[in-house]
Subunit: 345 residues, 2 copies
Amino acid sequence: MSTSRCTIREVARAAGVSISTVSLVLNNKGKVSEATRRRVLQAARELGYVPLRAARDLSMQRTGNVGFVLREDHFTRSEPFYTYIFLGTEFEARLHNLYVLLTTIPDDYHKGEHTPRFLRERSVDGLLIAGKVSDAFLDEVRAMKLPAVLIDYEAEGLPAVVIDNQGGARVAVEHLIRQGHQRIAFIGADLQHPSIAHRLEGYRIALGRIGRSMDPALVLIEPEAEPTRATGQLLGQRLLALAERPTAAFCANDALALGVMETLLQNGLRVPDDIALVGFDDVQSAAQAPVPLTSVRVFKEQLGELAMRHLVERMTPDPARRPYARGQHMIVVPCELVVRASSIR
Amino acid sequence: MSTSRCTIREVARAAGVSISTVSLVLNNKGKVSEATRRRVLQAARELGYVPLRAARDLSMQRTGNVGFVLREDHFTRSEPFYTYIFLGTEFEARLHNLYVLLTTIPDDYHKGEHTPRFLRERSVDGLLIAGKVSDAFLDEVRAMKLPAVLIDYEAEGLPAVVIDNQGGARVAVEHLIRQGHQRIAFIGADLQHPSIAHRLEGYRIALGRIGRSMDPALVLIEPEAEPTRATGQLLGQRLLALAERPTAAFCANDALALGVMETLLQNGLRVPDDIALVGFDDVQSAAQAPVPLTSVRVFKEQLGELAMRHLVERMTPDPARRPYARGQHMIVVPCELVVRASSIR
DNA sequence: CCCCGCTTTTACAACGTTGCCTTCGTTTAT
DNA sequence: ATAAACGAAGGCAACGTTGTAAAAGCGGGG
């Protein structure tokens, strides 16, 4: 097996046919007799022919790449949440013969200055955007009229693949209710984030189903803060300071839950005996926490896979397709409750 | 600004010159009069001309991509060590107009079955390999004669960018010595890994400098295990079981150190009072540990940057270059000790 | 025997660059 | 004054693939 490239021309000569025929066979197009098809395939295999991407792309007027964009702080945070989503997209990309170009954008995105290179150079056929990103960036994407799919985030006019945040939250809270809890707090942050808003909504609905409404005193939120461990510690303090302490808390994500747990344990409270905790995302460290954390598992690779699959669909031209509106074209991926020590008596 | 592509032809017509001239100007090649150069640049800017990658690549007989390979378990572990390295390579790639294709390979790599797609399709001009990977993979890479650079790993015949493991370890142990410790343990795993072997060597040298030799009883190693938190917990147990306990331990990495710390604290020992701990890598959770961990900071982005820079050098053809031998062409990146509570009295 | 429709195959022009070679002026050396 | 040298710009053939339009082959019916 030689290391040098072999061109379609050589395959054609070896098979005794024209270049066009080779192309037709290799792409399963047009009508080619079975005999010729076999001869071509044979020759291609023997010569170890692999079409040159640049040539094919040039001819097909496409790039063969899709971009994967996420905020740098999301990519580098200690929990490989988006990393798994990326791997899911990568896996699906193989099936469609696409390459994924991963790039991060800064938290405080400014158009132009921070525009990903592959957008400037127009060397992607489509775009995946993971997690919350700045509106400035989304505006830019919309203006480019490039097929794009959001993952784990929502925005007007763009299709999205999202977690069933509301359903997951409902199941989590219903679990706490089944464990006999009456006073269940909600711990949250950044209400702008649709996922968090939906999780809060799930909490409300679960309470509603047993005929209760939300007690504002038990809804502890730092609306402007990111949902991090540090914010969780802060909210843990506020939880401790409450006059009438709840017996359980549903946290909008695991980072918050772990922060709360840390504060509680440091202040001598027991989990779950004094306060039961449930998180969301089922990150790696959830299972390894001092008290293993009950959480809602999210199928991250699947999110990526579905997003890529949908993007590919959008990338194949179809003039009859209409633009998206919010709420439409939302692919919702189910999640599942994982019960651990932090919530069972 | 139109969204449709504009070709070099249109720029040429707008500037009133030939296509060749436009190409020369845009690539800073050949001799072009200042007047024409300005006119071309002007026209290109006005039309928003961006060369089409596929066309350029086809013409230049290159792909414009480099591959970044690492083991899946390295990529998805909770510490974004390799993620930062990747970001470093990405940053440097921009300066050279290259795209980085990131892909993971499984832990138990088998040639063919697991060969990264971009290698099969030969659509990278060079390869970066981060962290320890299977020899089978390295053999395949060597056989391809594709320019490649290892990062944070070493192997015969391939250039590598590595951490100053030995120097860092030495500084860490010397710090413990300065703190008055006499009995200092070494906690390690996977001795096959060059980094760990070098860190052990640094430990030995630091002791040697004050006229001591390694006490075998204090060198706790799980030679076959991965250097993970779980292994650290295990070694923590062995540390506790020692007849004469050391007063300090230098751990081959932070994961091990955090595992040891967890075990020590759970068994009622105090850090650093009973046993001082120092790790290596300065991962995010080091600073957030129950007792903030002294560690050796590694400049991860820099590792990536240097590797990419070196790879680019290797990618530009130069017939006079000779193959690499182990030990040669090793780029060593310095690191620095970060002192925290886990090691100061 | 020729023409007609059908299937299979081929030739050829893109696609947008780059690199080499030529051409055309202009200056400099002889 | 003429030849040589030089600098600037242009023409053209790759690069490897695809898609299209046209050609070739092939029976069968008139």
